[in-house]
């Protein structure tokens, strides 16, 4: 498809497990962003990749969170030793050369039991 693709759309896991969330950006978009939306809250910035530059990790809430972007395209967000407060919708966005607007995927709804 032409839009940002995220998988899985839903993920339920037990507390303490590791999870991996995937984002496939729009073809040709060099910038990729991860956000999360907790219940009743706005979107919270997590991490930003732009081309070959070092990522902006300033939004990651703890060292249990990490992300990588291989080959300048697909990105994986990893959460280790999940906690119940990690339950949220994780949204990925991409943009052309870092310019606005950002285009969002439909997100992964993560539920930690």
């Amino acid at each position: 498809g032409a839009g940002v693709s995220q998988s899985p759309s839903n993920k339920v896991t037990e507390k303490g497990k590791d999870v991996e969330l995937r984002c496939d950006p729009i073809s040709g978009h060099t910038a990729l962003y991860w956000y999360r939306q907790s219940l009743g809250q706005g979107l919270e910035f997590l991490i930003y990749f732009q081309g070959n530059s070092a990522p902006d990790k300033s939004g990651l809430p703890s060292d249990r969170f990490s992300a990588e972007r291989t080959g300048g395209s697909v990105s994986t967000l990893t959460i280790q030793r999940t906690q119940q407060e990690d339950s949220a919708v994780y949204l990925c966005a991409s943009s052309y050369r870092g310019e606005q607007p950002q285009h969002f995927g439909d997100g992964t709804r993560l539920s930690i039991l």
């Binding site: 940002v4 962003y33 706005g42 949204l91 606005q100 607007p101 969002f104 997100g107």
Partner: protein, 113 residues
């Protein structure tokens, strides 16, 4: 501390009337602002944006107004349609047109037929 505030969690409007959604910000470094619309279980969709060098931007039924001295922006939708019913997020960035976005918590708009 919230840098982007949408103080009305919800708004109900009659079809055909004007919808006005408000947004306030505290960071004077913000210089680019966007509105996104979000339906349930979907990612946010870009609606309209404005640079801080302008005070108005219009696109069809949607107009965004920016008052820099008051650190306030508003989105006007006229005429409102039932299909406009969604959550509207205001977002801002301090890096010109690039970089991660800071989001408000959203306003849920209901347009009654």
């Amino acid at each position: 501390d919230q840098q982007v505030k949408q103080n009305s969690p919800s708004l109900s409007v009659q079809e055909g009337r004007i919808s006005i959604l408000n947004c306030d910000y505290t960071n004077s470094m913000f210089d680019y602002f966007l509105w996104y619309k979000k339906y349930p279980a979907e990612g946010p969709t870009f609606l309209i944006s404005i640079s801080s060098i302008k005070d108005k931007n219009e696109d069809g039924r949607f107009t965004v107004f920016l008052n820099k001295s008051a650190k306030h922006l508003s989105l006007h939708i006229v005429p409102s349609q039932p299909g406009d019913s969604a959550v509207y997020f205001c977002a801002a960035t301090a890096r010109g047109s690039q970089g991660n976005l800071i989001f408000g918590k959203g306003t849920k708009l209901s347009v009654k037929p």
